[in-house]
């Protein structure tokens, strides 16, 4: 076309620029992937005797003899080399062609493959119970997922929430206290949810009504929750353990039939109520946010509150509701630390899981299932970290524990992958 008008030329130029930026991104992306592949080969395959085999146990828990699955035995060298080659090929393809969609799923997958290669290398000439490892990863991922879901509910409505840690800590304590005093775990769970909701409501009042900066408000909740729980714990709960700090735990519920599926049956279908609640909430929140009028309103308020207000949506009400619902979800997550696991409250027992939840929310791009996937990967890194010592791997477990945080920094900076927060996230709304 010879007679293009000026605006079109401009448009084409900007399109070219965008395409160029995209290509650069894809190249960076592919380069990093290639680097990971090389690192995988050098660290986990190079110099490994090809005759060695890694064996993975696939039976979790007390599986009846007739249902037991034989161990999964794979050649260590060939597997890692194969994974490295596949990853390398993906990287090369990325550099040459530059696929259109570059998602965090890809980064998560690369991370997972890397960790798996590490695992194969670590178990060369040894064995590890893979099903048990995945089970632990799921268990560790449950509170993280609750935290992430709480964050999604708040932030989709435009209220940034760094107080998830505090909400979960408060809920963990109250669920234990009330659960012990009432002698009923369900009452304890409800108390945990209520605590999460009350603390979230404080966050909501401070940040929505008083328009306090949402980070400061979140910090207030975190410090307040840490202080209060430690105060009550050391003054009462540690002294009167039997009367105040001994609620017991929810039993595992075995889902008949499904639990007998080989390998995954015991992993997925023999869990406490918390895991099932988490799966249910994942589906409910996903459908709620993306397929209902309610969800459309919440997201509208989080993206463009002014427009939403103009269309007659009550911005303040929607935000209060979303934050308090998030508090309820975080409350369940908090209770899962105590009633779902150890049956006891200890000071500071959430140990940063709320912040990992925040990380999972970002990594999962503010979507429930994305956050769940990220939580699983983070949980897997966590569960592997505790076993590195057993496998005599000369990598300090601390570095594996850093992985979730570093991965989050990488995606938030858009170095690899990309996250897009709700547009009005964190901004107080004024009529």
């Amino acid at each position: 076309m010879t007679s293009t008008s000026a605006p079109t030329t401009f448009l084409n130029a900007s399109k070219d620029l965008a395409r160029e930026a995209h290509r650069t991104r894809a190249r960076v992306y592919g380069g990093v992937t290639l680097l990971i592949a090389v690192a995988m080969y050098l660290f986990f395959a190079n110099g490994v005797d090809p005759a060695l085999q890694s064996s993975f146990g696939l039976n979790q828990g007390a599986v009846p003899a007739e249902q037991r699955v034989p161990d999964w035995v794979i050649p260590s060298f060939a597997t890692v080399a194969g994974l490295a080659a596949a990853t390398g090929a993906a990287g090369l393809y990325q550099i040459v062609r530059g696929t259109q969609r570059t998602s965090n799923l890809f980064v998560g997958l690369a991370l997972l493959i890397f960790i798996f290669a590490l695992l194969v290398w670590a178990t060369r000439d040894a064995s590890i119970n893979l099903a048990g490892l995945i089970k632990t990863a799921l268990n560790l991922g449950v509170p993280i997922t609750f935290g992430a879901l709480a964050g999604i509910l708040c932030e989709r409505a435009g209220v940034a929430n760094i107080a998830i840690e505090g909400l979960m800590l408060g809920a963990a304590m109250m669920s234990t206290l009330v659960g012990t005093v009432s002698g009923n775990l369900w009452v304890g769970l409800l108390a945990g949810m209520a605590t999460g909701a009350v603390l979230a409501a404080i966050h909501a009042v401070l940040s929505i009504h008083y328009k306090v900066d949402q980070i400061i408000s979140g910090t207030v909740i975190n410090i307040f929750a840490t202080g209060t729980t430690s105060y009550v714990s050391s003054l009462f709960m540690q002294r009167m353990t039997d009367q105040l700090n001994n609620p017991g735990t929810f039993r595992n519920i075995v889902i008949p039939g499904l639990a007998d599926i080989p390998v995954i049956g015991r992993v997925l279908f023999e869990n406490t109520i918390f895991t099932y609640i988490m799966f249910a909430l994942l589906v409910i929140i996903h459908i709620g946010l993306f397929y209902t009028r309610w969800g459309l309103r919440v997201r509208a308020v989080g993206e463009n509150p002014k427009a939403a207000d103009t269309l007659g949506i009550n911005v303040y009400f929607t935000r209060y509701m979303a934050v308090i619902l998030g508090g309820l979800v975080a409350g369940i997550g908090g209770a899962s630390f105590t009633l779902g696991a150890v049956g006891r409250f200890d000071e500071g027992m959430t140990a940063g899981k709320g912040f990992i939840g925040l990380a999972a929310m970002i990594f999962g791009n503010w979507s429930p299932f994305g956050a769940f996937g990220a939580s699983l990967v983070f949980g897997f890194a966590d569960s592997l970290a505790t076993r590195l010592a057993i496998l005599r791997v000369p990598i300090p477990s601390e570095f594996l524990l850093m992985a979730p945080y570093i991965a989050t920094i990488i995606v938030i900076a858009g170095l690899i992958g990309r996250v897009i927060a709700p547009a009005a996230d964190g901004q107080p709304y004024e009529k």
Binding site: A160, L206, D213, T226, Y231, S234, L235, E398, I412
Partner: protein, 409 residues
């Protein structure tokens, strides 16, 4: 008084100034009042009366609970005036040292607060929220510890400044990561610094149980620093009051001078107040953001170095004890002004150091201080609450700090 809180067209500037002083003061009073409710309703004596197990006077029990708590806190933090007078009258230096022990300990606790509070204040001034002061304190402490024990044979006059500067460098480097990520990739510093805090914790865990572990120890603790790296203590044992307090005051003065008397400070504050205007007037916004963040990290690193070189003389996982989060309260309380931060730090130093005595005498966990601090931040960040309770009219516009402009880009 401060650039942020004095709007250009404030009708009555003295009212704004009054707010700057009155609101923090009333916020503290309100927090202490709420704190006394907490004390009363967790007091075993009061609870016994309320549940009918004891028939003592309720009001008396409540009053004695509060009086014992805050009384012992005051005595633990400032000291007993009678004892101080007697000690000075006797002229015995050991007795004087003992009588002054509480206040000297409070001042020693104040020093890291000043430095950490300044760290947050500087980031606030540039429109950023450095929530990673805690991690930067750890990195500063690690660097200072390493220089402190690994370099031997240096004279103190070289070794001390070297270790102190190493601390500042450690903090600045750690803060440079979020600064560069923000400048280059637009990553929100709140998220990156939160994540970096946890990376710093794990790094510390690893160093203290690996490369930096004290030889022969199974605990996560570093070797003792060389004596030549110790910040000199100024009072006889067991008082830990050391020269770090004066260093902190000097640094506070230096930060004030930098922020309010130099072009660099003017640029930093302008970028903080309105980045677009700063850009339009030809300032390099990116460079100022990175500079302010590194300065903030260096101050945090100094706080870490102070803890190692002056107080503990070794590095443990508990080196900071939440200092980096208390610092947020300090910067808010001090309205991000160095003088305000020093005053707020003294208050927090007194509270923290008095809390130890309160715990031993009144059996109230020191965590009460965290609760009071959280309330102080809430009341200061939401001055409308304080105004409502005390029925104060609005002075100038409320200085509103907004850091959230969306995560990432």
């Amino acid at each position: 008084m401060t650039a942020q809180s004095t709007p250009a067209k404030a009708p009555r500037p003295w009212l704004a100034l009054r707010d700057d002083l009155l609101i923090p003061l009333l916020a503290i009073v309100m927090a202490l009042i709420v704190g006394s409710f907490v004390i009363v309703f967790t007091n075993f004596g009061v609870l016994d009366i309320l549940s009918g197990a004891s028939s003592a006077n309720l009001a008396g029990a409540m009053w004695s609970a509060i009086a014992t708590a805050y009384g012992s806190m005051f005595e633990g933090a400032i000291g007993n005036f009678g004892a101080i007078a007697t000690a000075f009258a006797s002229g015995d230096s050991a007795a004087i040292g003992q009588a002054l022990y509480p206040i000297s300990e409070s001042l020693a606790t104040t020093a890291p607060y000043v430095l950490a509070g300044l760290a947050v204040a500087v980031s606030f001034r540039c429109g950023m929220f450095n929530i990673g002061v805690e991690g930067q304190i750890f990195l500063g402490a690690i660097f200072a510890t390493y220089v402190g024990y690994a370099f031997t044979g240096l004279p103190a006059i070289v070794h001390i400044p070297l270790a102190v500067l190493a601390g500042a460098l450690g903090g600045a480097l750690w803060a440079a990561i979020p600064a560069l990520l923000k400048a280059r990739a637009g990553a929100h510093e709140v998220i990156t610094t939160i994540m970096l805090n946890y990376v710093a914790y794990r790094l510390t865990d690893w160093l203290l149980s690996g490369p930096m572990q004290r030889p022969g120890s199974t605990n996560p603790i570093s070797p003792l620093i060389a004596q030549t790296a110790e910040l000199p203590r100024l009072l006889p044992e067991p008082a830990r009051f050391h020269i770090g307090f004066f260093i902190a005051l000097a640094v506070a003065f230096g930060v004030w001078w930098l922020l309010f008397r130099t072009t660099i400070g003017f640029e930093i504050r302008t970028v903080g107040a309105n980045p677009d205007a700063a850009q339009y007037s030809g300032m390099n916004v990116t460079r100022n953001l990175v500079l302010a963040m590194c300065l903030s990290g260096a101050l945090a690193g100094l706080a870490g170095a102070n803890q190692v070189l002056g107080m503990n003389r070794t590095m443990t996982g508990g080196i900071s004890g939440g200092l980096g989060f208390d610092a947020i309260a300090l910067a808010l309380l001090g309205k991000s002004h160095p003088a305000g931060v020093v005053a707020a730090s003294f208050l927090f130093g007194v509270l923290r150091s008095g809390a130890t005595k309160m715990q031993s005498v009144a059996e109230i966990p020191t965590d009460l201080i965290s609760i009071i601090q959280a309330l102080v931040i809430a009341f200061i960040a939401a001055p409308a609450i304080v105004r409502g309770v005390f029925r104060i009219k609005r002075g100038g516009d409320d200085a509103r700090t907004v850091f959230m402009r969306g995560w990432g880009r």
